[in-house]
């Protein structure tokens, strides 16, 4: 990565323009996801938003991260969401009861989360530029070696967190059954 001294914001390259356009589409899809009154449409717009994010990763040369994004979020999380929506027999057309009174609170949380994330990312990278002409800096090999050399501790902490969530889910689902048996 090189410093911004050699780059300007006023003469964008093709990749930068594409990055910006995909970003706008992603943001638009995300906004539609939370504002649409049709439940299943919200889930499908989420696919667009998550897919747009994957394209952004690709444009940043982080190919591995991009495919994992598609695999986990589009392939599994959204399928799980749709599964849940189908179990509730989500109606075709608008759902009149899909609105809750928590709208202001949700908006506040969303804005706070977005502000925190933007601040962290901007502060971390400031004006570093990715050199697109050199060897890919986000290839699987590079990502892997950085992950397991410099970021091992957060990685392991995350796996423990996921394990805890897994065990918790099993405990919760078991408890219900025991109670039913007792009755």
């Amino acid at each position: 990565m090189t410093l911004a001294a050699t780059h300007g914001f006023l003469s964008p390259t093709g990749v930068e323009i594409a990055f910006l356009l995909v970003g706008i589409v992603t943001l638009g899809a995300a906004v539609v996801t939370v504002t649409t009154r049709q439940l299943v449409h919200a889930a499908l717009w989420l696919v667009v938003a998550l897919g747009g994010l994957a394209v952004e990763y690709l444009l940043l040369t982080a190919e591995f991260i991009a495919w994992v994004q598609v695999l986990i979020y589009v392939g599994s999380v959204v399928v799980l969401l749709l599964f849940g929506l189908m179990l509730t027999k989500a109606p075709i057309g608008r759902s009149p009861d899909a609105d809750s009174g928590n709208r202001p609170a949700a908006l506040a949380v969303a804005v706070a989360a977005a502000a925190a994330l933007v601040w962290v990312v901007v502060d971390a990278f400031r004006a570093t530029w990715i050199d697109l002409d050199g060897p890919a800096q986000g290839s699987t090999k590079v990502s892997g070696s950085i992950l397991f050399r410099h970021w091992v501790l957060p990685f392991e902490a995350l796996s423990v967190l996921l394990l805890a969530a897994l065990v918790g889910a099993i405990v919760l689902s078991r408890k219900d059954r025991e109670r039913e048996d007792g009755n």
Binding site: V40, F64, V68, G75, L80, L82, L85, I92, S139
Partner: protein, 322 residues
Amino acid sequence: MNDVLDVALRLLVVFGVFMVLPLVIGQTEHKVMAHMQGRLGPMYAGGFHGWAQLVADGVKFAQKEDVVPANADRRIFQLAPAVALLPYLLVLVAIPIGPGEGAVGEVVDAGIFFVLAVMGVGVLGSLMAGWASANKFSLLGGLRTAAQLLAYELPMLLAAASVAMAAGTVSLPGIVDAFEWWWLPWQIVGALVFFVAGLAELQRPPFDMPVADSEIIFGAYTEYTGLRFALFLLAEYAGIVVLCGLTTVLFLGGWHGPFGAEGLGWVWTLLKTAVLAFIVIWLRVSYPRLREDQLQKLAWTTLVPLALAQIALTGIVKVVIQ
């Protein structure tokens, strides 16, 4: 200019393969199933042993009226077949059939992840179709599709991860390059898990609970007619091509063969793919459909532990031979 021409030519070839191979497998299925059941199968269309039957079917589908149910969610209903079919076209781009740069549509750095990720997207098509049809049977089909994908995606990924560990790379040509003959016994459990999980992801018999015609008519595709229905069928056969090609590349050594490795590698790849496709058809004729609970049980209590054991074995052998 040459680069553009090169890319265009490659995409054209991949598209050609995408249009031809699924039809070949479809026709083989007609014939193989027929002979296994003591029939002849289609004999008239095209003259010689009914080779043009699927072309005739295509013409028939194209002539039918394109019906969208009155209560359906129009746009999603119409979009669903494309979402189901396109991912397989994309996957085909990354599958190498011979050694070298010339025999793969596009070298993808993290090929194995690309392939599995994009294949998973295809299921969204079935889910969209199941929900948007406004039909109870379709909705049931969609539900079963989702449950099946969630159960079988994990063992498939784990089995693929085992090969990636063995080869030390996640690129598909890289994996075939690293292949040695003794990988076959070493990775055989992973290969079986991958193939079975792939069959389930394609909803092929004996894992065709989501489209079980004797219970829920045709699952998510019940309301579809004409070309859109044909696209779903095409997606199924393209899925067979992709699954068999992937199993060949990951576990059976792709273009490696006992002889003729130079120049004739692509023949080996196609041959292995064809044998696997025959097995897929064979299974359809010989096994009864699994019930929904049997399906889930097979995935969670058999395939996942087997895949994990395979990963452990791969890790141990890998450490020992280093």
